[in-house]
């Protein structure tokens, strides 16, 4: 039975379902049990599953690192890192162990862990509560990186992530946590690695994820172009085929992300398009991204974040050039 849910509720219901479905699922993290998480994404779970939902000490490297051991004993750890920037505290555990334990042991020890973490700007949060490091995580082979853009997508993707045999960094855009409701089916799994064509069109391909997707859709409407809007959903592994097929059709493309431009994923996507659809390109690929500055504090945040206006300008450039 489908329900109208906000994204944060979709997270909660997915975790509840997975805890119920699989005795091996363990949810832990800072303030996730007693308080139900700072965004209330895990609210009530400890009441139903007191033996598998735990508060953790304020120790992100620990939270990530113990996941490797939990997984080795047969559990499926689903920790929360309170904000994505604090996953940096555990970046070494992620890159040195979580991502590599399968390859270095030839598949004899694996780490089917899903690290959930809120990310991105737009809610006027404190310093270091608004970063987007999906490119950095995607540059670590062995990890998967997933970002949902709506409540229903969250359900489908988080379900797949928890069940995935490989470690997943699951980044939840805080800006969308409570921004809208939509119908969320009770059972719903979206295979990782498949992009979604959100809108079909012929003139230009626009690629955006997380909270940027809505901005992109708005921009496209403002411009009035026939745009194909694609949400990759899984950033690693990326669904190159869907993107390339679209660009072969449109010949023009705009890639949007909140993260700083340099070494961001727009570069990677540009490179893949360049490699596989070069002769179809009619204009340079456009990047509409965060600037190459540390995400400023929130008084300047709106000036940092790409919005529909900046995306629209990018779409115009893509359409006008060439």
């Amino acid at each position: 039975m489908a329900e109208q849910l906000r994204m944060v509720e979709a997270v909660r219901e997915t975790l509840r379902t997975e805890l119920g479905r699989d005795d091996d699922v363990v949810v832990y993290g800072e303030d996730v049990a007693r308080a139900g998480g700072v965004f209330r994404a895990t609210e009530g779970l400890v009441d139903d599953y007191p033996e598998r939902v735990f508060d953790a000490p304020v120790a992100e490297s620990g939270i990530v690192g113990i996941g490797v051991g939990l997984a080795a004993t047969g559990l499926r750890p689903v920790p929360e890192i309170q904000f994505q920037s604090f996953l940096y505290q555990g970046f070494h555990q992620l890159a040195q162990h979580v991502a590599r334990i399968r390859s270095r042991t030839r598949g004899t020890i694996t780490c089917p862990m899903t690290i959930r973490t809120p990310y991105g700007g737009g809610i006027h949060a404190l310093e270091l509560h608004s970063e987007s490091f999906e490119a950095g995580f995607s540059h670590v082979p062995g990890l998967k990186v997933v970002i949902p853009s709506s409540p229903a997508e969250t359900k489908g993707l988080l379900t797949a992530a928890v069940r995935d045999p490989d470690p997943v960094v699951f980044m939840e855009p805080t800006r969308l946590y409570r921004s809208f409701r939509e119908e969320v089916p009770e059972h719903h799994e979206i295979p990782l690695g498949e992009a979604r064509v959100v809108d079909s069109g012929d003139d230009v391909t626009v690629i955006a994820w997380g909270s940027m997707l809505r901005e992109a859709l708005e921009a496209v409407e403002d411009v009035g172009a026939s745009a194909e809007v694609i949400d990759p959903r899984t950033l690693s592994p990326l669904d190159t085929a869907t993107i390339v097929d679209s660009v072969k059709k449109t010949g023009r493309c705009v890639v949007v992300h909140e993260a700083p431009r340099t070494a961001g994923l727009a570069g990677e996507i540009t490179a893949r398009i360049n490699e596989e659809a070069f002769f179809y390109l009619e204009a340079p690929l456009e990047r509409v991204t965060g600037y190459d500055v540390p995400v400023p504090m929130f008084a300047r945040e709106d000036d940092y974040l790409p919005d529909s206006e900046r995306i629209a300008a990018g779409v115009h450039r893509a359409l006008d050039d060439g």
Binding site: E30, D31, P57, V58, E127, D292, I311
Partner: protein, 357 residues
């Protein structure tokens, strides 16, 4: 040597002014009446700023704000023990300490308004801005305490963090490195019993946080953090030691009387009873009674002082609002590097022209 006890450690706890208003005469620091009043005033100033800030946040004028209500003695007592040239390296809840060290209140408001202007520390002020990532800043304080020593100076760094922070590897690394390099650093851990919703027993199996020092081979001591005289006394001694190359960890036992931040609702995870109990143990009240008992504080002085604080903070709010009106967003491009890089310049031009992505 088959079985031998090879090392022994004792954690001592100190209190100078008890909840019953008894004083340990041997430990009581010799402070002038003016100094005692200054301690009191700083605590009141911080309390009032917090109260106004919470209200401003509720009206949408500030972003997330972390009140220090209940922790004023722990912060003011320790900050007061610092000398000119010493460094303060705070966490995100240290307005009491920062105000006591001279940070103007409008800057604290600017910070809460999401403005880098609030984190701007004019050179030589000996302060670091708030540090949001829990437990990261003690390492900076160790670098400062070591750097001062390397340059033959006697300034110390005093760094603040919470009970939750002690679970972070960085805090341990800081304590340990301080011990190795004889860093001129004092670590003030405010054990306010909560890390957001998480109680101490979910944070560590250690009975005290002062004993975290044992792992680093440095000194650790506990103090009643709601006793401003006790904190001052312990901090003064610790700072003297640190000045001579002996880092010290102080655990100040206190209580976060208010919400974790304005985004938090403590009723989700703790009983009102507990809050009521701690209201009675408020550090400002305890000290006020002490001052009144000794005739240092009378109604007149008190209302003068309240008025002064009130108008100061009102002015600070005005100033903060004014400053908030004309910030230049383009600053983000200017302060990333000493000189703007070519790519940033390109992005900056696009930003100014509002045309490019």
């Amino acid at each position: 040597m088959p079985r031998e006890d090879i090392a022994q450690f004792t954690i001592r706890s100190v209190q100078v002014l008890s909840e019953e208003e008894d004083v340990d005469e041997e430990l009581v620091p010799s402070l002038t009446d003016d100094q005692l009043l200054a301690l009191y005033e700083q605590m009141k100033r911080s309390r009032r700023l917090d109260e106004r800030a919470i209200a401003l946040q509720r009206r949408g004028e500030l972003g997330t704000y972390a009140p220090a209500i209940g922790q004023e003695a722990a912060q003011v007592g320790s900050a007061f023990a610092m000398a000119d040239g010493d460094w303060i390296v705070p966490s995100f809840r240290e307005q009491s300490a920062l105000l006591a060290r001279g940070t103007p209140p409008h800057k604290i408001l600017w910070y809460a308004m999401g403005m880098e202007e609030g984190a701007e520390i004019p050179g030589g002020e000996g302060a670091f801005p708030p540090s949001i990532p829990v437990g990261t800043q003690p390492l900076h304080a160790v670098g400062i305490g070591w750097g001062e020593a390397l340059q033959g100076r006697s300034n110390v760094a005093v760094t603040y963090f919470g009970d939750g922070a002690t679970s972070e590897g960085d805090v341990y690394e800081a304590l340990n490195i301080a011990g190795v390099y004889d860093a001129q650093t004092v670590f003030v851990c405010q054990n306010n019993r909560y890390a957001i919703s998480t109680r101490l027993q979910n944070q560590t199996a250690a009975e005290t946080l002062a004993q975290k020092a044992v792992a680093a081979g440095i000194e650790g001591i506990r103090v009643d953090g709601n006793d401003v005289l006790g904190v001052y006394r312990v901090a003064r001694d610790a700072i003297e030691k640190a000045r001579n190359g002996t880092p010290v960890l102080i655990e100040a036992m206190t209580y976060r009387r208010s919400m974790h931040t304005t985004s938090d609702d403590p009723s989700v995870y703790r009983e009102a009873d507990e809050e009521v109990e701690w209201e009675a143990r408020d550090p400002i009240v305890r000290f006020q009674v002490y001052l009144e008992d000794r005739g240092i504080l009378d109604e007149e002085t008190k209302s003068e002082l309240d008025d002064r604080i009130e108008s100061e903070i009102a002015e600070a709010i005005d100033r903060a609002r004014e400053g908030g009106e004309d910030i230049d967003p383009a600053d983000m491009f200017r302060y990333t590097y000493d000189e703007m890089t070519p790519e940033l310049e390109r992005q900056f031009e696009a930003f100014e022209g509002d045309v490019d992505g």
